[in-house]
């Protein structure tokens, strides 16, 4: 058996199992028969195994250089290093849909494990049915439109190779997988929401759904930060976020999921905002499909366009289907969803709702900004661009409001603000003012000073909350402050984890303000041996050499850097700047060398060089402050999320249910 044949059969198998699972789930729902539910639950494993076999077959074809499979012929080459071959399945359209579908079957299987526990007999069929429906879509797209195992009639001796941009950095093995885990993960909360609306129980779904959403959110956050770091490491322009349409497409579900995570807490505690939560989670999942539509359809120009193909219209139809299902159900039941009361604004729930309002607005702005060039072209035929300068200007004020709310929200008590909260707020506002004054005193710009103030403000809020918690515990339980702190950290994961996440967000905001305001770029041509003095650096070009590597040529220009003043602190060293030439690319790929320090990052890029005599090289230097802390912040946010999610035994409201699936 060839890998192509095995993969194709497994793919059809996965589609059949998904259809079977869907049919069983519908029967279970309609006939209220537990036997069908149990059968549907077991089908989740079958579809997972079929998808895994298909994915394994693709890996097998790539690893054995089987160029009779068109995907391998078009996107791989026998000279590729092993790790590149292992990640090639998601380097182009068909394979990345297969990975998506595989992860979808994994999530469906995990949800199947919850049947009889948190997912009772009334909701499990519709939740599983929704997920099977999503699976049917992905496998149908692969079987009928974008088949990963299409045969090549006359297999070539060598493949066309993998997109060089994607094999230039090991992040290719990490970032896309995290992104898919996050995107696909949002299908589970959506399925729970659909099930809750079909079962007409609008409150109890929120507990476990919040947990699932946090899982997806954690992956999405990790994906966004690793994506930033990846583009910072290899794209050679010193930035990490370009407001590229596809970056925006990953931000929209993140923003909506963040809004949901906050309003879900209001529903959990107060039984408020139920209808909005259904809407938010539907939109968040729809946004993942929307993002895929943008990436895959090629309707919008983007650096991620390598994965475009003929599936755009399918994804558009699927997007409309998801919206119709979620919002249609919501419209049907919204008349009977009852709120537990109304919101008092000067309370934690008020701040959470205001926060969700801003997250929702932000998502709206990103959608409008991303699609507007398309709209203008349709309306008037004119071409316009909506890019980074616009998004930066618009997101700054939104960000300020969100950071203000992030500090104040957790400090306010539920229901009604009391005197103590006012005292805390005063301390925080003083920190804000002092931080700003320090910034201005150091001669920093107003925006950066404000960012310092907001960081101090949020830090104060967290310290005050922890101090208060420690005080209360040591008094109530008779513990020493250290023991009380330990108790707080260990026993109140959700609370303490959220402090870590919020601290990470404040730190990220500070880093973004600094790095966006004070990035310094300069380019100069140096003769070999020449010294370039700039911004506290002394750069000497040591030489120019070439090297032939397995799948590319590299031009190398080693440089020696010395710091001459405080501005160049930490830059000392010898660096090897390089240009990589890939046979399948028309222009060389500049791969920067980055020197990370706690304050400035020094970024050296070889732009051009003397191809005849090897006597000169053109170097670009980019100096950016505080970027390092963005990666720290991303790590903290993900760790904080993991800390909240880490199983502690008492995490979920335990429902020792009778196995409802049996009769």
């Amino acid at each position: 058996m060839t890998p192509g044949l095995l993969g194709g059969i497994a793919l059809v198998g996965a589609l059949v199992f998904s259809l079977l699972g869907l049919a069983l789930a519908v029967l279970a729902h309609a006939l209220r028969d537990g036997r069908y539910l149990e059968a549907a639950r077991r089908t989740t494993l079958l579809s997972l195994l079929a998808a895994a076999t298909s994915f394994g077959a693709l890996e097998w074809a790539i690893l054995t250089d089987d160029f009779s499979v068109s995907y391998v012929a078009n996107h791989s080459a026998s000279v590729n290093p092993l790790w590149v071959k292992l990640v090639t399945p998601w380097a182009a359209l068909e394979g990345s849909i297969l990975l998506w579908a595989l992860l979808q079957t994994l999530y469906t299987w995990l949800v199947g494990l919850r049947v009889g526990r948190s997912l009772d007999f009334w909701r499990a069929p519709s939740a599983l049915g929704t997920l099977f429906l999503v699976q049917v879509f992905f496998f149908a797209v692969m079987v009928f439109v974008a088949h990963p195992f299409d045969k090549v009639p006359n297999p070539p001796a060598e493949g066309l190779g993998t997109n060089p941009l994607l094999q230039n950095h090991w992040m290719m093995a990490v970032h896309p997988v995290l992104m898919y885990l996050g995107f696909v993960g949002l299908s589970v909360p959506f399925a729970y929401a659909v099930a809750a609306m079909l079962a007409r129980r609008y409150q109890s779904w929120i507990f476990e759904t919040r947990w699932w959403t946090l899982v997806a959110w954690g992956f999405l956050t990790a994906a966004i930060f690793t994506g930033k770091w990846w583009s910072y490491e290899i794209l050679g322009w010193g930035g990490y976020w370009a407001w590229d349409p596809v970056e925006n497409a990953s931000l929209i579900p993140w923003l909506l999921a963040t809004a949901f995570l906050h309003t879900a807490q209001v529903q959990e505690r107060k039984g408020l905002f139920k209808g909005w939560n259904f809407a938010f989670i539907t939109l968040a999942f729809a946004a993942t499909v929307f993002g895929t539509f943008l990436t895959r359809s090629g309707v919008i120009q983007s650096v991620h366009a390598f994965a475009s193909g003929p599936v755009g219209v399918w994804f558009l139809a699927f997007l409309l289907g998801v919206l119709a299902l979620g919002l249609g159900l919501l419209a049907r039941v919204s008349g009977e969803i009852r709120e537990a009361g109304e919101v008092r604004w000067k309370s934690r729930e008020g701040a959470l709702l205001a926060g969700a309002l801003f997250f929702g607005t932000f998502a709206f702005v990103v959608v409008v900004g991303t699609l507007w060039p398309l709209a203008v072209e349709l309306l008037s035929g004119a071409k316009v661009s909506v890019g980074a300068p616009f998004f930066n200007q618009v997101s700054a004020p939104l960000g300020v409001f969100m950071l203000l709310l992030m500090g104040i929200g957790p400090v306010l008590p539920w229901r009604q603000a009391r005197g103590e909260a006012l005292k805390n707020l005063t301390a925080m506002l003083i920190a804000l003012g002092v931080g700003m004054l320090i910034g201005l005193g150091l001669g920093l710009s107003l925006g950066v000073s404000l960012a310092i103030g907001l960081f101090a403000y949020n830090l104060t809020a967290i310290v005050l909350m922890v101090a208060q918690g420690v005080k209360e515990r040591s008094r109530a339980l008779g513990l020493s402050p250290a023991q009380a702190l330990l108790e707080l950290v260990a026993r109140h994961r959700r609370r303490f984890g959220s402090h870590i996440v919020h601290f990470g967000v404040a730190l990220a905001a500070l880093s973004i303000a600094f790095s966006q305001t004070y990035r310094y770029t300069e380019q100069k041509t140096l003769q070999v041996g020449e010294v370039w003095q700039t911004r506290g650096l002394e750069v000497r070009l040591l030489g120019l050499t070439a090297r032939e590597e397995a799948n590319r040529f590299a031009a190398l220009a080693p440089i020696q850097v010395r710091a001459t003043s405080r501005d160049g602190w930490g830059s000392d060293g010898r660096y090897e700047t390089r240009l990589n030439f890939y046979p399948q690319m028309s222009s060389p790929l500049a791969t920067p060398v980055v020197r990370y320090t706690l304050y400035n990052d020094y970024y050296f890029v070889l732009m051009q060089f003397d191809q005849e005599k090897g006597q000169w090289a053109t170097l670009k230097i980019i100096i950016t402050p505080m970027v390092f802390w963005l990666w720290v912040a991303g790590g903290l946010i993900v760790l904080g999320t993991a800390y909240i999610l880490w199983p502690s035994g008492a995490r979920l409201p335990s429902r020792q249910a009778v196995p409802s699936a049996s009769d």
């Binding site: 948190s118 007999f121 009334w122 129980r201 109890s204 794209l235 322009w237 930035g239 370009a242 349409p245 039984g271 408020l272 909005w276 120009q301 366009a305 009852r338 709120e339 009361g341 109304e342 309002l357 607005t361 709206f364 702005v365 900004g369 507007w372 709209a375 203008v376 309306l379 004119a382 071409k383 661009s385 909506v386 890019g387 980074a388 300068p389 616009f390 618009v394 004020p397 770029t521 300069e522 380019q523 041509t525 032939e548 040529f553 046979p583 028309s586 222009s587 060389p588 500049a590 060089f609 003397d610 191809q611 005849e612 005599k613 090897g614 006597q615 000169w616 053109t618 429902r655 249910a657």
Partner: protein, 154 residues
């Protein structure tokens, strides 16, 4: 440095056939001060997939940076330089859409979004309030929660 030359010649063939291939000159490009990149960052590279003229290494982006550097030396202001490119390529070349005509709506989108969501929230609040009053004597929220928990256990 014979090595550099040798493999470069080997590469010359595929390079010249590439879609974006530019004749690669063997003359050093001019030096660019920071202002060049600041201006180029606001301009779109016309042949790229959404990259700015500061980031891209396509021939046309290099040329744009060179023009910016030249015009800066002639004493032109950043606004004048951007205008120079707008005259040649239209507003499309600017990453910041002009705040007039159809693109004014993009600038208004944050306000529109806030108003839209705020209005929805207000409507929601009003409805919740009237419902709460109408059903003050009905089933309480705690009872609903308990009932649902009860149902979940079945």
């Amino acid at each position: 440095m014979r090595g550099v030359r040798g493999w470069f010649l080997a590469l010359a063939l595929p390079l010249s056939f590439g879609a974006l291939a530019q004749p690669v000159p063997n003359t050093p490009p001019p030096d660019f001060p920071p202002q060049v990149f600041e201006i180029a960052r606001e301009l779109r590279c016309p042949v790229c997939q959404g990259e700015s003229a500061a980031e891209s290494n396509a021939g046309i982006a290099l040329e744009m940076r060179r023009i910016i550097a030249e015009q800066l030396e002639q004493g032109k202001s950043p606004a004048e330089i951007k205008q120079f490119f707008v005259e040649r390529y239209g507003d499309w070349i600017l990453f910041e859409p002009p705040a007039r005509g159809l693109t004014l709506w993009v600038w208004l989108s944050p306000l529109l979004g806030l108003l839209l969501l705020g209005y929805g929230l207000w409507r929601h609040q009003a409805r919740a309030k009237s419902l709460a009053q109408a059903q003050a004597a009905g089933v309480s929220e705690e009872e609903i929660a308990r009932l649902e928990a009860e149902l979940d256990r079945r």
